[in-house]
């Protein structure tokens, strides 16, 4: 169950409350920060960061709608030129590169993560719900857009797109542990 906001009594509201707006902005900023510190250098041109875990956390903690909006806000700031994407990337070139599909897929990924989490959270233990949601949304849904674009632009096989699978599955596990930890630290939210 995503955290609720104290000022949101009507579940069918079409506009966000001020706390929703602040949560969306703060999580968009969190995703950016997870792409900066602490980077784990592995000798690749792009350092391994926890940024994709941030995308999963947005869905797991904020839910489908607010989570996807947080990722969308993050994406817009990257596209207008803020160097917030892991590796200090930013600007319209992000959309022209071979990994553009993953970048676009982040929004869908956060939405699907939140959607699955909202449906499972009350039925199965939090850890099972979060892990399922993170793998289905944060990995599979992101790959659904990311891999076809990568294959199209590099003319490689889909196997190339699976190079990041082990790392992304580890991040899904981490996101699950973080979600459980946040729930322990902030019970009732």
């Amino acid at each position: 169950m995503p955290i609720s906001t104290s000022s949101a009594p009507t579940p069918t509201r079409s506009r966000s409350t001020s706390t929703d707006l602040a949560l969306i902005a703060s999580f968009a900023a969190l995703i950016a920060v997870l792409g900066i510190v602490p980077p784990i250098a592995v000798g690749l041109p792009v350092p391994i960061t926890l940024q994709t875990m941030g995308v999963m956390l947005a869905g797991l903690i904020l839910g489908a709608r607010r989570g996807a909006l947080a990722v969308l806000v993050f994406g817009v700031l990257v596209l207008v030129g803020l160097p917030l994407l892991s590796g200090g990337r930013g600007g319209l070139g992000v959309l022209a590169g071979p990994s553009a599909g993953y970048f676009v897929g982040f929004v869908l990924g956060a939405y699907v993560t939140g959607w699955v989490m909202e449906r499972l959270a009350d039925r199965v233990p939090v850890v099972a719900a979060a892990l399922t949601a993170a793998v289905v949304g944060g990995v599979a849904a992101v790959y659904l857009i990311g891999i076809p674009v990568l294959v199209w632009r590099t003319e490689s096989t889909a196997m190339a797109g699976l190079a990041f699978l082990p790392g992304d599955l580890i991040k899904a596990v981490l996101a699950t542990a973080v979600t459980a930890g946040v729930r322990r630290a902030l019970p009732g939210r």
Binding site: T17, G97, A185
Partner: protein, 196 residues
Amino acid sequence: MIGTTAHTRGRLSVGHRLLAMLVAEVLLVLLVRSLPALGLAAVLVTLAYAWAGVRPGEAWRTLRLAILFAVVVGVLQSIVLPWQRAVVIAGIMVLAVAIAGLVTLTTATSDLLDALERALGPLERFGVDPERVALTLALTARTVPVIAGFGRRLQESGRARGVRLGPVPYAVGLVVLTIQHAERVGEALRARGVDD
């Protein structure tokens, strides 16, 4: 912030820049199939950079990662494809980023944001509030250093206790501080009447 463009160069409107970029990208992907075509495209893109007055250092920073990635892909592809084809694939990858990067390098971030806000105007009937979008974007840009500060504080407090914070405790702390910060900001926004 490092990397953002402060001033717009040239007189072309943002809309026309984006349109020109789109046309150039489509032509690049559709028409460049051979080494001579790639060479011609590279010359045209280089001329565009020179015409726009982009310094070589700026161009290098924009293209560094794309070039590295393209070299890796080109080398791998030359194993299974004819080398000419591998070079064309890698070259198109770099030029595509270069074309989009030229818009970013020569257009102020604030002008791009203004253009976005104008573009959202027609979406108002679908419940999109351009002013609210602009507020959220501005709030996010100002929140990044705040959250980065939380991150530094967490790592410092870990070091003070002689432990190196692992990724999970670090992220749990960061998310908790982020949520608490958002709740304070939400209260402040409500006090200023951002809720309708």
